[in-house]
Symmetry: C2
Subunit: 146 residues, 2 copies
């Protein structure tokens, strides 16, 4: 069976980019931390554990590249840094986020939930939707228990 990383390799070579060791290490870190919403700095520190000589600029360049290929989505929650989120394979739409204003945790919602809303927006505003970003800010179940 073809692995996730194999398919990402193909996407890279399909766009005539090489899968260098640095790029592979970066992709592996993203795969291994799929639940998190890593900043470039976060990725850099993790990649350096595998590939100690990598430079921060290379990580930025790789993340930018993966973003252009739609392998990752670049998101901002308003804390001043960009975060990079692996796009689910086969997902028609970007998933949603729950940001806790108490503890800062970011949880994901994989369900679509927006089908009806999108239908309304497309007809009523005559807007062709290609992607969306939906984030809820509030209090997560963990902080409610405290």
């Amino acid at each position: 069976m073809e692995s996730r990383i194999d398919r990402i390799k193909k996407q890279l070579s399909g766009a005539s980019y090489k899968l260098t060791p640095q790029r592979e290490a970066t992709v592996r870190v993203l795969l291994e931390n799929e639940e998190d919403h890593l900043s470039a700095e976060d990725v850099f520190l993790l990649v350096r554990e595998i590939s100690p000589d990598i430079g921060l600029a290379t990580v930025y360049r790789t993340l930018e590249l993966l973003n252009e290929l739609n392998v990752v989505d670049k998101i901002q929650f308003g804390d001043g840094v960009s975060r990079y989120d692996l796009r689910q394979e086969g997902a028609a739409h970007f998933h949603h986020h729950l940001v806790c204003i108490e503890c800062g945790a970011v949880d994901e919602i994989q369900e679509d939930l927006l089908e009806d809303v999108e239908a309304i927006v497309e007809t009523k505003w005559n807007f062709i939707i290609k992607d969306h970003r939906l984030t809820f800010h509030g209090i997560c179940y963990r902080c409610q228990e405290k």
Copy 2:
């Protein structure tokens, strides 16, 4: 009748802040450009036309203050700058945005549309929603005509 700016004045004084000439000029610029999504730099350039001696830092401090008082919402569309959007009076929720990937235009949707989705999120994920951000990326009606 009480004007919009009067009510904003009251919000400021209610939180024991003064409405200085610089702050008033900044608020006026926001009111006069309510349709746009101005960056701090944009606001600064416009305020300087009214109040030429204002400093950029003052504009940043005022926008930060207005954000804390929920007079404006600070938003990021991913182009590297924060933008400031006047909150609709009496609006329970933040409005939504349509970002055109062709021409860059940002249109607003004032309708809520998310009531059903929020009900699902609150019960199914046990998350208390305080605010939300919803942005659609796609092609606006103007660019479709071209």
